[in-house]
């Protein structure tokens, strides 16, 4: 696990600055099998963004099916039928296909899109620079972790095309269903997950080691940018929460291929006759192991986002973050607490009072640090001199969006109110507000903010704003109605969008039935569908902007275009292999903006005091 820097890997657009390495290691070593943290970061970014797009396309197909059950999907339908055969009769989604898409949307978005982007990609590009390190502590392990990610991703994608298609038991893969479904999709899912988990574990080890070992002289813990703190805690969450899922995955694999009964109770009768198994297992065991990962995982999705937002807000309010210390303690608190709230996903599995009290209490307690973090960010606005550039717009929008998502977590957090909301679209809306308009916005902000460091060119402001307003408006059009639908009792994972439960269908049944979904609840499907489509279109300016800017974007006038204080802006653009000509020395905290009496309104961390 040792680290070397024998083979330098210059970055794209490298010649922009005067740091040529004279022996060029060649294309493969430079871009594919590079050990340079910046290159690996970019690889992660491209990979995960593509998965993000793919996950979204799956969802578009699902949204079509939800609002027009059984109607062939326009344009793509025939292709689907060609590619997947009977799973997509006449180009419409069969319930099995819908379930596969649902499970894979969740899996891909969480494990292959957001985590690799928010955690791996951003930390790789930014973190070593921010702490003044020459590279990651273990560059080769870093490369290995990306390769594991690719293998995992390929296995997941391949599983769509095997007979019977991809996993169908939801991203939560509850046993016995996951084991009972006769196709091999679940097996692929498990093996894919093992690779993805390995990848995350390697990165986690790497980032923690880097932060502890490679901080530049003077970079004390309380001088770390909040982004670094967020990633530090995130790494620990991954390091300690993922292995139990890996264990669970191994056991489920045994259930699937070796016909063991880890999660299968005695007397299981699938399709009439008793299953030929030893029995004696416990379905709840899987749920506990899954959610022991599952909950920390959701904070893995949000903490990096908070870190990014914090950096950008400090930079664009031109003043120090308010309450840096409470931010740090809060994020640490969230880290610890997130290991003891998992069963709030299992409130309705027949939970006794004592257990219920414990998990409700921890769930309420963990919401407090989040409130504190948000509050600090809010108060940081006060007295600032706010610049509204694209990164800042996305960062600001993150606050209320996360607010909505977070606040709607509270009614779910109480056992008794969860009775009505559990497994309805209220839950779907809750967490999408946190991860979609929440995390995704923070990631957009980060891309607009840090890309100039990598390429030396800014993205186009105008199209950035188009992208922003389009995303903001249509994200809300997509997810806001889901709260209403959930309240009205519309359930998630409905291959027909709840048509079978609608008052209309019940009416056909003759006797008047109470509790069917009203027609205007069903109506909302249509808005959501079109909302989602336009949301997709709103991404086109971004994608074009991204690639167009590489060649034609406005050149940055200096290494520090945003006039920021943190270290990544104090080196060349793009940073050379090894990042800094010589190790920088840090003299002050990360957010010294508008220091009274200082010439400029920003004081870099490594600027020697007079």
């Amino acid at each position: 696990m040792e680290a070397t820097l024998q083979h330098p890997a210059p970055k794209p657009g490298h010649e922009a600055h005067g740091h040529e390495d004279h022996h060029d290691p060649g294309f493969w070593r430079t871009y594919i099998f590079s050990t340079d943290h910046k290159v690996i970061g970019v690889q992660y970014a491209l990979g995960s963004l593509s998965f993000l797009l793919f996950g979204f396309f799956l969802m578009l197909l699902m949204r079509w099916q939800i609002s027009k059950p059984g109607v062939p999907v326009p344009v793509i339908g025939p292709l689907l039928e060609k590619a997947l055969g009977s799973a997509a009769p006449h180009g419409a989604l069969s319930p099995d296909l819908y379930n596969s898409f649902g499970a894979m949307h969740g899996t891909i978005m969480v494990f292959l899109a957001i985590v690799p982007l928010a955690f791996a990609a951003f930390s790789n590009v930014v973190l070593p620079l921010q702490i003044g390190a020459p590279d990651m502590a273990f560059p080769r392990v870093n490369m290995a972790s990306f390769q594991a990610y690719v293998v995992g991703g390929v296995i997941m994608l391949a599983s769509f095309f095997i007979p019977g298609g991809a996993a169908q038991a939801g991203w939560t893969s509850y046993s016995p269903l996951a084991t009972a479904i006769p196709t091999d999709g679940q097996t692929f899912w498990i093996i894919g997950m093992v690779f993805i988990i390995t990848s995350s574990l390697l990165s986690a080890v790497n980032f923690i080691a880097t932060i502890i070992q490679l901080r530049a002289p003077g970079m004390t813990w309380m001088r770390l940018p909040f982004f670094v703190w967020a990633q530090f805690v995130t790494s620990f969450l991954l390091l300690l929460a993922f292995p139990p899922l890996e264990a669970a995955a191994v056991m489920q694999l045994m259930d699937k291929v070796a016909h063991t009964s880890f999660f299968l109770p005695t007397g299981l009768a699938i399709g009439g006759q008793l299953a030929n198994i030893s029995g004696g297992g416990s379905p709840l065991l899987w749920q506990h192991l899954f959610w022991f990962l599952g909950h920390p995982e959701v904070y893995v999705l949000i903490l990096p986002a908070m870190g990014i937002v914090c950096e950008i807000i400090a930079n664009n309010t031109r003043k120090p973050i308010w309450g840096y210390k409470s931010l740090v303690y809060s994020v640490l608190a969230i880290g610890f607490l997130s290991f003891i709230v998992w069963a709030h996903h299992m409130y309705l599995t027949g939970m006794g009072t004592k257990v219920a009290v414990f998990f409700q209490a921890t769930t309420m307690i963990i919401s407090i640090p989040s409130v504190i973090i948000l509050t600090c960010l809010f108060i940081s606005l006060w007295g600032g001199s706010i610049r509204f550039n694209t990164p800042m717009l996305f960062a600001l929008a993150f606050l209320p969006m996360f607010g909505i998502g977070g606040l709607t977590g509270l009614p779910l957090g109480f056992n008794i109110s969860d009775v009505h909301l559990h497994d309805t679209y209220y839950v779907i809306a809750h967490f999408h507000y946190v991860v979609a308009p929440g995390t995704i916005f923070a990631l957009f902000a980060g891309i607009y903010y840090w890309l100039p460091k990598l390429t030396g060119r800014k993205l186009n402001e105008f199209w950035g704003r188009v992208h922003f307003w389009g995303s903001l408006i249509f994200m809300n059009i997509v997810f806001m109605p889901m709260f209403a639908q959930g309240m009205a009792g519309m359930l998630r994972r409905m291959a027909d969008g709840g048509a079978n439960y609608s008052a209309a269908v019940n009416a056909k049944g003759g006797a008047e039935v109470i509790g069917g979904l009203s027609s205007n609840i069903m109506e909302m499907h249509t808005w959501i569908l079109w909302g989602a489509c336009i949301l997709g279109l709103a991404q086109i300016p971004f994608i074009i902007n991204l690639f167009w800017s590489l060649k034609h974007g406005e050149k940055v006038e200096s290494d520090n275009p945003w006039q920021a204080t943190t270290l990544e802006w104090q080196t060349a653009t793009p940073p050379p292999h090894g990042n800094f000509p010589e190790a920088p020395h840090v003299y002050r905290g990360p957010y010294e903006y508008s220091v009274p009496g200082h010439a400029t309104d920003f004081t870099p961390q490594d600027e020697p005091p007079k």
Binding site: M1, E2, Q213, M251, S282
Partner: protein, 269 residues
Amino acid sequence: MVMDFPYIVEPRRDSGLYNAKLGIWLFLASEVMLFGALFSAYVLLRVGAEPGMWPHGWLNIPIGTANTVVLITSSITTVLAWVSCKLRQYGRFKFFHACTILLALTFVCIKSFEYHDKFTHYEIALANGKFADGHLMEKSKDFDLEKKTGSVTIHGYEVEQRTELMDLHSPEARRRPREEITLPAAEIKKMERYGPWHHTYLAIYFTLTGLHALHVVCGAVVIGFLWGPGTRMWRTEPERFTNRIEVSGLFWHFVDLVWIFLFPVLYLL
């Protein structure tokens, strides 16, 4: 003009560790969570088992003990190998780590023998409601459960109820004589070997020990590499090489430790 890479060899002052050592500690932390989860699964399955249906004494304690001794010895030789490196005694290092690798292989051999023993061990539910149990001696050529032709011969015993097969520590179980029993297929209702599918105890046994064995093999491969081609570094950077030996040693001790937990939990309790 590229910054040279810090703390590969000498430890960093505030953390007191060199990079790789911190790395392995973190990695081991995640390993603890991995095996921890499996152990908690073991506890849940055991607690959840119907009364009298959790097996005792299905595994051979002397063999298990032998394997424990083997692993502990290998741990000692790893330490000695590392010390020899510290003292720059290349020859002794070679010798001790040779022992480590051989011991690792011994462990795996013994383990695979135990596995083989389980896979030739059958529980047979008889048509008359009784249970026969023992190791397969031979199957007649025409043996076929569906067609109900031919017969099997096992070395073991017959019992009234299945629960009697669970507690082999019990005095009557010890007293039970083992003889060769030949059973015509016609009398056999169900015949199942002691594979992972046979009982959740075996499921967790095979999973835990299998995963552990995998760790042993990987460890052996790494140490083997450092013993063979890896020694190139000895000539150039002995200190860094010593660190590698220490790090791989830490991993090896962990693998050993896991077994120290596995042995009582699976063999004795």
